[in-house]
């Protein structure tokens, strides 16, 4: 168990482990025996490993759902629901600003400077960013584009959606937590039968 010490600490600290955040740890976690060992170790702490549907990201959940656990989960769920729209809008904004033909996925790199440069010259992007930055999820008080963008990216880094490989260099890598977010959205959509399509209609295909 000793060799997984640092990994356990990261998991206990609430990190999401994917092949972007920690490739080695992720590889270890994908082995069934390691999962078993870690679960065994975490049992007294009432924790267990949880993975998303396609096993691209791991995090810790409760082993037994006690009253306290449920309370904590309720609080977290409320936060998650609150953060859905700002996160989706951010995804859209990045895709449009950087002129990408597809949505962001784990492993994509975003250069902050490029993002700022492209937003600066475009009034409508600028306005949308302004609105997004003042959303309470990001909660920016600044009027400066530069500060707003930096705050948004910092907040996303804190929430584990982005990874900043070098502290002083302004570029970010999208982590597997984005996959988790998409899974959450898909789950809610399916569960509540929301009228939200994700398959192109026949016309779009032709």
């Amino acid at each position: 168990m000793l060799q997984h010490g640092p990994l356990l600490e990261r998991l206990l600290a609430g990190e999401f482990i994917c092949c972007i955040t920690d490739e080695d740890a992720f590889r270890h976690l994908s082995v069934e025996q390691t999962q078993h060992d870690i679960n065994h170790y975490l049992r007294p702490l009432n924790r267990r490993l949880v993975a998303n549907e396609d096993n691209s990201v791991f995090f810790l959940g409760y082993h037994e759902l006690t009253k306290d656990a449920r309370e904590q989960l309720s609080g977290l769920f409320a936060l998650t629901v609150q953060s859905l729209l700002p996160l989706l809008e951010w995804l859209q904004l990045v895709q449009e600003t950087l002129g990408r033909d597809s949505a962001l996925t784990a492993g994509d790199t975003i250069k902050l400077q490029e993002f700022i440069l492209r937003t600066e010259d475009n009034q409508s992007l600028r306005q949308r960013l302004n609105q997004l930055a003042s959303d309470r999820f990001f909660n920016s008080q600044s009027e400066q584009l530069d500060n707003q963008v930096k705050l948004i990216f910092r907040r996303l880094k804190e929430h584990g959606y982005l990874l900043q490989p070098h502290q002083e260099r302004q570029y970010y890598i999208v982590t597997g937590k984005i996959d988790y977010l998409i899974d959450v959205i898909r789950f809610i959509r399916d569960e509540e039968h929301l009228p939200v399509d994700d398959t192109p209609t026949q016309e779009a295909l032709i």
Partner: protein, 413 residues
């Protein structure tokens, strides 16, 4: 026959070389024509245009149309620069096969007649055709890999990429069908009894084609994977856009309470953070030395001696018997007021009481003391009283409220 042949050949050589030189001579203008889809006629002299048309490099597809490169020339350029937008894939095998059969027949006929130079020439042509056939697949496979490796980056939108991928898969199917047309039993039969033919048609061609076949299958697998990835990306973009639109339209939307279901979905089972802390353990004798070293390594803070300085005395209370007596009288009156409230039961206005008892206190001081007394009460007693302040704004300019009166009552227990 041979001299005529060589005459034709030398004639071909001069014409071909001249025409190829034309390509080189006008390379920039022609390449521009390739990119634009038509050539700028003013860039050429009249003579040059005529030569280019005669060399079948340029043509006019329609009388109203400007001059353009002939399709074969465009194709040549596309293949040279690997321009996947324009590159053509030729999957026609049947025609080539027919030519090979005919060549073999002609070669055998010439051999039978003993015309060895003709036989030699036929064998030469046959070799070329076999290479052509193999090269055709090689070119196609190269083009497919090129497109695959660039993630179909030569088209901009995801929809286009999906269409291009589907087109590539269709081409691939045609190529595989073409390979199926090659019947090696037939080729073995064709090369029966001739070493040259056997080598060319059987061992060499078979080798090449089987490697093409496995390449094509590999490309097919990768194309299907890539298409699945494109579709996934497309689905993801749509999900993001549509969900965002839905949430914008329904700002009050609240999903079900998943954390309190009997079965909490794994996605929402995200445990609270535990931060493991550790401190120095003093119980391990073996580590004492290390700890001692650590302690010794700590930077020492110099003990600074504080000189004694006389501190200002706040303890001295300013006393005046007369004022203390008045203070006590006020306190007693207020206490009486509280007692009256308790006896009376109902609500009592502080100022009314002041007037009623004909007390001499200033109304402001009176109200202050009542509030002070209330604040001084222990919490459980405080809860027994309901204190209501009668307030009015000082002016319309700010939020300042002035207390006009206080009414005190007993709270229903």
């Amino acid at each position: 026959m041979a001299p005529v042949d060589s005459a034709i050949a030398s004639n071909l050589l001069t014409i071909g070389a001249e025409r190829l030189a034309l390509l080189g001579k006008h390379h920039k203008a022609l390449m521009q024509g390739y990119l634009d889809g038509f050539v700028d006629e003013t860039a050429f002299s009249e003579g040059a245009l005529k030569k280019l048309i005669a060399a079948r490099i340029l043509w006019r597809p329609d009388e109203q149309q400007p001059l353009a490169l002939r399709p074969l020339v465009s194709e040549l350029i596309a293949s040279m620069v690997a321009d996947e937008n324009r590159r053509q894939i030729n999957a026609d095998v049947a025609e080539k096969l027919e030519q090979i059969r005919n060549r073999v027949q002609a070669y055998r006929d010439a051999q039978y007649k003993g015309d060895y130079s003709v036989a030699e020439l036929q064998l030469q042509r046959l070799t070329e055709q076999v290479h052509d056939l193999s090269g055709q697949f090689e070119e196609a496979i190269d083009s497919l890999w090129h497109r695959l490796n660039s993630d179909f980056g030569f088209v901009a939108s995801l929809d286009d990429k999906i269409r291009e991928n589907e087109r590539a898969q269709k081409q691939l199917r045609r190529l595989l069908d073409g390979l199926d047309l090659l019947d090696f039993n037939e080729l073995i039969e064709l090369s029966e009894g001739n070493n040259h033919l056997r080598k060319l048609l059987v061992s060499q061609l078979q080798n090449q084609l089987s490697s093409h076949h496995s390449s094509l299958l590999e490309v097919q697998k990768r194309l299907v994977e890539l298409l699945a990835k494109f579709r996934q990306q497309q689905a993801r973009s749509m999900l993001i856009n549509n969900m965002a639109a839905f949430l914008r339209q329904h700002p009050k939307y609240q999903p079900a309470d998943y954390p309190n279901r009997t079965d909490v979905p794994a996605l929402f089972n995200q445990a609270a953070i535990i931060k493991p802390h550790a401190a120095i353990a003093l119980d391990k004798a073996s580590e004492r030395q290390i700890l001692a070293d650590l302690v010794r390594a700590l930077p020492r803070t110099k003990a600074t001696q504080l000189s004694e300085t006389p501190a200002a005395s706040f303890a001295q209370q300013w006393q005046d018997d007369a004022i203390a007596a008045r203070q006590q009288a006020l306190k007693t009156d207020v206490e009486n007021f509280y007692l009256r409230v308790i006896d009376h039961g109902g609500k009592l206005s502080a100022l009314d009481y002041l007037a009623q008892q004909q007390l001499e206190w200033d109304s402001e001081i009176w109200l202050y003391q009542i509030i002070a007394e209330y604040q001084a009460l222990p919490l459980d007693e405080k809860q027994m009283f309901a204190i209501v302040r009668d307030e009015a704004p000082a002016s319309s300019m700010n939020q300042l409220l002035l207390i006009r009166d206080i009414s005190l009552g007993l709270k229903a227990a």
